[in-house]
Amino acid sequence: MARYVFGRFLSGLVTLFGITVVSFFIIQLVPGDPAELQTATIADAQVSEAVYERLRELYGLDQPVVVQYVRWVGKLAQGDLGSSFHDGRRVSAKIGDALWPTLSVALLSFLLTLIISVPIGIYSSVKQGGRFDRIMSTLLYMLYSVPSYVMGMLLILFVGVKLDLLPFRGMRGDDYADLTLVGQMWDLAKHYVLITFCFTFGNLAYYSRFVRSNLLEVVRQDYIRTARAKGLSERRVVLKHAFVNSLIPLISLIGLTFPFVLSGSVILEYMFSWPGLGRLYFEGVLQRDYPTIMALNLITALLVLGSTFLADLSYGLVDPRVRYDD
């Protein structure tokens, strides 16, 4: 096992290096730099030239690319993500601000997904091939095929504009500051509804299918037969013996998908004027704000790497065959 962990760790380190290289060079490959962008509006050529050089020096853009890379990694190692080219704020502060809106929606959405899809999955597997199973799977497949931003547009149009039921711009209403505490919470909750739904509905099909097929697999095991032979109720067999044993793959599925959800959705967050990471990234791209783009790329990639690593480890722990695979 130690050997397996070590091997995984080593290959993870190589990948980590690759991630920093991609995060850094994807920005550098391209013509034009932020100094150029900021001086583009200065009409006087000579002033513009001087300011340009000063800015380049300030950002360290006058150094060879490799030196810039090493410096960047060195700062990263100290936890320094740099400052935004756009407004000079610390990138870590900007990300900190945007983290909660995205994280809260992601957590809510995962919670909802589990609350809805686990019971559906269990019930479908018990009544495999029955009417409930078939209707649910068709219904959820239809939902699954609706792209999230298409659903977002339709919800905004029908629920937000036509019915005027729910707000769809930002996290808070205009009168938020004047509301009572209860009123504020109600206002906040209303703003969460549409965007959370957009993050959730597509997962339902996947998760309920996943629960269903895992359960069907587990139900065939000998210990389930033993449990039935002992005379336990079907309800107890399914919930206690079967479902609990099908939890491990479910948890690792959540672990693997979570980092991607955390990166937010650029389109959805932009659509709902949601001040999260996806929108921060998009604004960074519009403003050619290198540090912000690089930091967000790097952080999400690291999260994905980390959770893949953990998932691999847990598989290796549960299933010894994996350890000898490579």
């Binding site: 095929s145 792209p147 036509k162 099909a205 790329n297």
Partner: protein, 356 residues
Amino acid sequence: MTTEPNTLETPSPSGLRQVWQRFRRDRLGFAGLLVVLAMFAVAVLAPMLANEQPIACKYDGALYFPALIETIDQIPLVTLVVHKPVPFRLATFVYKEEFDASRGDWAIWTPVPFGPREIISPPLEGPSGLHWLGTDQSGRDVLARLIHGTKISMKVGFLSMGIAALIGLILGCAAGYAGGWVDMVISRVIEVVTCFPPFFLILAVLAWFPPRIEYVMIVIGLTRWVGIARFARGELLRIRESDYALAARALGVRPLRLVFRHLLPNAMAPVLISITFGIAASILIEAGLSWLGFGVQAPEASWGSILRAGYENLFTAPHLIPPACIAIFVAVLAFNLVGDTLRDVIDPRLQTGPRA
């Protein structure tokens, strides 16, 4: 190993035929395939379906076929040989204004007699007998733009996945066949690219290029190859030790030929499935990028840009949103259905999606 002499009177149908026979029996999958084909037809025939110039017409005593020629001209290089005759080729020439029945002019118009870029009516009008889906913010016919948007979607879907397949197959085959350090390096590269959210990567690269649909295709292709590479690698790892690979090697078949002639055809099933899903994803990404303003530029039409126009005029022109939504939904659903059915039919082992 024992080999049975082939004594069957009728040879069993070939693998491809078997797949097709099973595919045909899946009603949903078949419907999906029909929709895909229909969309393809709409894309190719777009200039004959919605055009400001007629399919055939008489103008000032002579016969012209502007929309027909425009359709043919979509084939690369044909423009060099066949092109619209002079009055119709000029940007300033508007046939609808020059049309004069008293002179004996007549015209067979396209089903939607408007071009995707033709500014013809007041902006943001709701659906009417003249404009079935209304007009957009510049007074262009929405249906015409939807039809021509199909062209963009199909083009992006197929070409970007073509690029992705090329990269993915080459790298995947190299890793799976060569093994050793080649596999090590390529596997790490695959892992690195997998770690980035695809949309982040695409935006990061696109941000620096002038917004053109060609770049969108290339960048989507450059970021979406990992799935294909992974499948190709896995399959090649599996079959390179098979008896027929050994037999071919014993016969002295060179590695390149071995891979492309003997191994790859047998590894295509999961790759093909991955490509089908990839087309759906690319269509979705392109529409999303165009919605954000990074894809197709005005006045060109894309489903995403129509959707964007609707978003910007939510209160005044709600009619812009549902048609574009339906187009994107149907396209994605059709390709996913085809992909799911292909997977069921070719290789039930690969079943992971939400449809059982």
